[in-house]
Amino acid sequence: MGMQDLIEVKGLSKKYGKLTVLDRLSFTIQKAEIFGLLGPNGAGKSTFISILATLCRPTDGDILINGLSVTKQSDKIKKNLGFVPQEIALYPMLSGIDNLNFWAGIYGLSGGIKKERIQQALSVVRLEDRAKDRVDNYSGGMKRRLNIAVALLHHPDILIMDEPTVGVDIQSRKYIMDAIKALKKEGKTIIFTSHYIDEMENLCDRIALIDKGSIKSIGTVGELQRIYGREKIEEILLDFLRD
């Protein structure tokens, strides 16, 4: 384990009754890394993300963030987490800016700093012109982008995103990917899941291939290509699914 390890997953298991959703996961994520979770539907990606975001308790094992346990010290961790859920979690009857205003308040921001952060977040996801419109008048892609903007307001060190680009057009996807890259430059650690393999290859420092609750492989795109002797991550994934 390197000195840069920010997140340490230790023997993490999650069971729903007899169904094992996560099976003794152990790996680490480094600071300022973009870490991708790739796997078919039902692989357990969202479950892992929920545990990491302190939303859900593991059956066994733990995750340490900066040495703090997500199960026992969640209060200390929360301030430093930005969470983008798989579903759109916004007030549809409020405007974009009112949504941001609310969440900024929830994170204790006020006055000038709050205004500044809201503008910043809007510009990261390129929603400045539509900020005053009601969210239920937004397109799907715009909602996704606002969904991400909400998680940026309090400048968290760790950003956890569950399928941030699902159902989004090419332009919105580009905006989102640009935003992720910009955040990495600022030194943020980003963990995200996606079904778009090109996006993963393009963005991620490392990728974890996950299937049926266990990690099949972790590595950089190059490492995975070498291990499996395949050019494309997509092919590697298809190999798995065939088994």
Partner: protein, 401 residues
């Protein structure tokens, strides 16, 4: 603190966005009270406002006079049955909540009247039936007043006769006669108690009766908008986001609680203002008593809302569960049909409803009697509220993982 204020502001904003619903919510109770009062009041006679109840009579004298007294009580419509029992049986009945009060006639009661001595009738009231025991106390008191008026008359006659220079034997004879006459007249007059009944029955008007029973229902409705907010938050996945944020779950609920308190207070204030001007409802009792009851009701109602939001998964199911729950509590709690006409198990069950304790509390306030207390009603409401809160916390905890 910044976070909690942001939460509260947002909740208030969301509730006020639906201002039509709020106006409807605030106007509805008054419309219903009007409707019920004008449409139904003529169908109800006055005794409906206090349903007949049982009392026990302990006659320690057992003479013709006291038996006449007992018969007088029998004739009062307000008493379903006047049970002739001994004192220990009476206390047992009181303990089992089968009677509202015990009237104890002391030994030598008639003689004491005869000799102008004071041997008072004792009334022991049932704490859980404050209104009823109040009526019994009043009946007994008025009877006592009549008797002592008779006593004074006797004394006056005695003194007058003495002053007039009557001789010893004549005086004694005249005195006995007049005493007997007064006593017999007092006791045999049918009107003695029926007058009491008319004059001192708790004066609750039809409007007050309907205000008491309907207000509770509408205060329960006042909890619905915030309750639905909690459910909507859940279905919009906002709850997940709130749980990841540093804000605590109790703060999210407390904010809704506060909004629902504000709504209830506004609604309560409006009802007081309107019913006191239009129907002249009696709201003049001690302010603390009204506040006390209001606190109890609001706590119970808000907890009820939290409870519904903890079991409902969608806004639609919250509506159904909420409305159905309010309806059931209204029926079981006697807000729709008088409890006294219900089977015994419903009456027992009613003790678990907000309505039963709240309506009774309002009736106590409207009765205008400062001697009655709503403390029991307050405690009952707090206990019901706590129960709802504890159950919801348990459900929310279970749901979480």
């Amino acid at each position: 603190m910044v976070a909690f204020i942001a939460l509260l502001k947002n909740d208030a904003k969301l509730v006020l966005r639906d201002w039509k619903a709020i106006v409807l919510l605030l106007a509805m109770p008054f419309l219903f009270i009007c409707l019920f009062t004008y449409a139904l009041a003529p169908l109800l006679n006055k005794s409906s406002f206090m349903d007949p109840f049982n009392i026990a009579l302990v006659d320690n004298e057992g003479t013709v006079q006291t038996r006449m007294l007992a018969n007088q009580l029998d004739r009062l419509e307000i008493f379903k049955e006047v049970m002739r029992v001994d004192e220990s049986e009476a206390r047992q009945l009181l303990h089992e909540n089968k009677i509202a009060a015990i009237i104890i006639i002391p030994a030598e009661f008639s003689n004491s009247v005869y000799w102008g001595r004071n041997k008072p009738v004792t009334v022991i009231g049932n704490k859980s039936m404050p209104l009823q025991s109040f009526v019994v106390k009043n009946v007994a008191q008025s009877a006592a007043n009549l008797v002592s008026a008779g006593q004074s008359a006797i004394n006056t006659i005695y003194h007058y006769n003495q002053k007039a220079g009557m001789s010893g034997e004549e005086l004694q004879k005249e005195f006995s006669e007049s005493t007997m006459k007064v006593l017999m007249e007092t006791l045999s007059r049918n009107e003695m108690f029926s007058k009491v009944d008319d004059a001192d029955n708790i004066s609750v008007t039809p409007a007050e009766y309907f205000t008491a029973s309907l207000m509770v229902i509408f205060l329960m409705f006042a909890g619905m908008p915030t309750m639905k907010m909690l459910v909507t938050e859940k279905s919009l996945h906002l709850t997940d986001r709130l749980r990841v944020s540093p804000i605590a779950a109790w703060q999210v609920i407390a904010s809704k609680f506060m909004i629902s308190i504000i709504l209830s207070v506004v609604q309560f204030g409006l009802i007081i203002a309107l019913t006191s001007t239009v129907f002249k409802n009696y709201w003049g009792g001690p302010v603390m008593r009204v506040l006390f009851l209001l606190c109890g009701i609001i706590f119970a109602v808000s907890s009820w809302s939290i409870f519904v939001s903890s079991i409902a998964k969608t806004s639609a199911s919250a509506d159904i569960i909420g409305n159905l729950g309010i309806l059931i509590m209204a029926v079981v709690g006697g807000s729709i049909y008088p409890l006294s006409s219900m089977p015994e198990f419903v009456r027992d069950l009613s003790n678990f409803t907000i309505n039963r304790w709240a309506s009774e509390g309002f009736m106590i306030i409207f009765s205008g009697n400062d001697g009655l207390s709503v403390v029991n009603n307050f405690y009952a409401l707090i206990v019901i509220g706590l129960a709802f809160l504890i159950i919801s916390t348990a459900i929310l905890k279970l749901r979480r993982y």
